[in-house]
Subunit: 380 residues, 3 copies
């Protein structure tokens, strides 16, 4: 049923989507530094599985930075589905130490939508603590929030991974990595890993540095909180490329896998794949996809950001779907997300993302074209 | 005491206000497409009752779109006044089914200030459901909010009428239409109807389409939620002009009446008319006029909107009064509101509103001039 | 250890800071209308105590307007430290009358971070009431908030002083003035007074009017609430210069003292002075310095303001420190604040502030240079 492509874009594609690929073919032909993967499932069937450029093959795997956070969101969703986690319960109910220093009334909902005020710990977290299942979480539990919890939100770029890891452990007795591996990845054969397994090293493609523009950008205001959060302590770690990072598989930023795997992950959750049932009910999907916050991000200092439970929601700068869509981009161009209304799961990875970072706009151009090409009826 | 005018503006007016009418006279003389009514009460006495243009007489009645929402606000206020409705009670206390799908803690206050996240239902509401006392409400009760209730607000352009109708029914055993008719309209002889009575059809003036500018406006970002909310299902209904609509009298948008009636409605509520007592106490007026929300509107995608209980509050784009003023505009130019400090009730209707919609700026120009002309003392 | 300066800037200074004074020396030399004081403590030791210009000596005292609010913040902090005041308790628990008119659930935290909606009373407060320990507070207790408490915040420019005065009285049996005098000012020998003591009159320097620009500023939108709050009733009072005002020492705006005193006040609180212990624990400092609100200010109509408990937090327009810094500026140029991370307390007063008001940017330029010159290590 799918058409096999022969170049410059490779892979297989639903024939209705061939015309949507023209911009990507032009990009690959025009820029020897451009390499990508993209994949999509529609109502559980793969409709797109393509790649192009000299750095990536169809089997390449890469660290897509915060696109990894989708594994948190879907693991949390599965715990909610099973009745093991109540979003409106206080975090301290599951994790008593968390209640210290003005956090006793922080709910799971607040924690998982960047409202808890813990984008860093005091003193600042070390990388050794960050790349650990419990150390950073213990330190965050003993930190007073940067803002009164619930009064604001700000991107917990790294720490949401440590906080969610500990929360999953308290609820399930397993690390988030174990829970994801055992309950989601392995049963559904997802090519996306929290911690690269032994023997797959040769598939790994490094994230290449973005090319800054020749003329420097005008200086902009950096929120003091952003400077502090990014500051860190001790030697720098390259989250994408250092082995300590991708071996650990930080849930907030250093999982590794293919676009094929990321699209299948969302499809398995929401529509099911290969004729199987989805691992989430429609009700749970609506719960974790519901917008929790919108507006000014305390950490990034950006005026218009929005989150549901862990996931990002569409905003003017990230036009990836309608009111029920959810997903997450990464620092250097990757993106994966889901439109529950149409059953379209989508993922895009890129080896060298475009300056200045955030999701590659080419991902959204492709996503929109795919959605329009496959649309059969008006959404009810 | 009032001066009778002979043209181009007709009607009666307090002599102190004659100079305020010059801009309207110029507009009528200069634009054959311009027709309006305006009326004002000061401390219970009519000080202005005028009209002009070829489409409207003093007795014309028209659907002023969301200006109709003022009937919701004042009906709710009367229920609060009588102790039948507690704004801080959970909606589900009065209406158990409403508590489904993450809404059990939504309060009446949140529901009536556009914070409940229900600007549409899933699947989308049909017009048959919307123009019904219970059908749309039942569907909304079974819908998960678009956003976490209380975390944001967005204009429930249509649904606030259905939600309020059901709430009034649960509290009083009467539809909002019946309650308004029996407790407010008839006792105070208000020429504004939720559902046009038989025999008044010849008074009805249709809403004429706005004239778009010759050059199209530059494309602007439309929030996905706005597209969905406006989308609807099934055949379109002209809310202002279709008989099914004005016969039903949707509380959010298709009541019908005159500017005279709308001004009298506010005066009867806040100052009393014809020497009678107001039907609301000053305390209740301050309760329903108190600002509940301000900022980004999730549905409209506009940065600066504000509401009290149902009503709109003044904003830079709608400068209709001081901190205690309240009222509501309509989609195609009409407006009615109240300044409790000075006892000035004001209403303005227009047959063909100015592009691109929202309250006609001429309404605010007139309102300000009237207020200044009648000002006796500095407000305490 | 400190170097004594001989002009145009006078006073004493840590030798490492001498180069930071060049901009101030140029300002004094270039503008005969410019006079200032500045002072700083680092980890409890005075490192800067300077002044310049013809209007001020080292011993001058002046009313720095809202810089006075730092005395509220530190007095509240001491009550919290001693366990006499719980920020999460309802105000009405301590002050039953306050619970009237929709305020029963307002917490101390909300009241002291400008969220209670009481920037004025209805009817408007008179100056006689404002300059009284209880009269304005009683009136505010009987006022319905301008906005639903907790839904927004807006600068309570004057009334936060009256509200805090009453709250301190209910908790401690002493006025805020007495509590500050007895527990903070006298024990730590702070040259900043809530109510000028007899015999110090000759030290007082009047606040001189700002010089407006020759070309008038373009008209800007004034929020109706700002107009009302600033309106007041009865004859105007010059808060800075009228004896009734500085004799009373309004906690929101008419304390009086020197920059030396203000810097020592913060140092005594956070680091201790003269080898003594600080009067606040590090934990209390983090509690009162924690951001409570950020965004649109309902009264000022400004898009980006932020407060902790009473204090201001850094914003793009007030870049005075990192995520834990706190302080307060005044209407005509003065500023005082604290960076707990580095133990740097800083104050700046000016006799004739620069148009259009708010903290003098020269204060922040000096503060940043001082901080950089004294920095020893990266903050953990």
């Amino acid at each position: 049923m799918l058409t096999t492509l022969t170049g410059p874009i490779h892979g297989t594609v639903d024939p209705r989507l061939i015309e949507t690929l023209a911009p990507l073919a032009a990009a690959v032909n025009g820029d020897p530094e451009y390499s990508f993967q993209a994949a999509a499932y529609r109502k559980g069937a793969c409709v797109l599985d393509i790649w192009g450029g000299r750095h990536m093959s169809g089997d390449s795997i890469i660290v897509p930075y915060s696109v990894t956070k989708n594994t948190i969101g879907l693991s949390i969703a599965l715990l909610v589905e099973r009745g093991l986690l109540d979003l409106d319960e206080r975090v301290a109910y599951y994790w008593p130490q968390f209640g210290a220093k003005g956090k006793k009334d922080v709910t799971v909902r607040m924690l998982l939508s960047h409202q808890a005020g813990l984008p860093q710990a005091r003193p600042l977290l070390t990388w050794d603590e960050i790349l650990d299942h419990h150390a950073a979480a213990e330190r965050l539990a003993d930190t007073r929030p940067y803002w009164q919890p619930g009064s604001a939100f700000g991107y917990h770029a790294i720490t949401i991974g440590n906080l969610a890891d500990e929360l999953v452990y308290r609820v399930s007795g397993r690390t988030l990595h174990e829970f994801y591996e055992q309950e989601i990845r392995r049963p559904h054969d997802i090519d996306f890993y929290l911690g690269l397994p032994e023997g797959m090293e040769e598939r790994r493609v490094p994230v290449l540095p973005m090319t800054p523009p020749v003329a420097p950008a005008p200086a902009s205001y950096l929120p003091p909180l952003l400077i502090e959060v990014m500051g860190g302590a001790g030697p720098d770690v390259d989250l994408a490329n250092d082995e300590a990072s991708w071996r650990f598989g930080h849930p907030a930023g250093s999982g590794i896998g293919s676009a094929r795997g990321l699209a299948r992950l969302f499809a398995a959750a929401v529509t099911g794949v290969d004729g199987g049932a989805p691992f989430l009910s429609a009700d749970t999907v609506s719960v974790v996809g519901q917008q929790q916050v919108r507006g000014y991000d305390e950490v990034l200092g950006q005026a218009h950001r929005s989150h549901s439970i862990v996931f990002q929601k569409p905003t003017p700068g990230m036009p990836f779907g309608g009111p029920r869509a959810f997903g997450h981009d990464g620092a250097q161009g990757c993106f994966a997300g889901m439109e529950p209304d149409t059953g379209l799961a989508f993922a895009y990875t890129v080896a060298r993302g475009p300056w200045p970072g955030g999701a590659d706009p080419r991902a959204f151009t492709l996503l929109r074209a795919v959605g329009e090409s496959l649309a059969e009826v008006t959404v009810p």
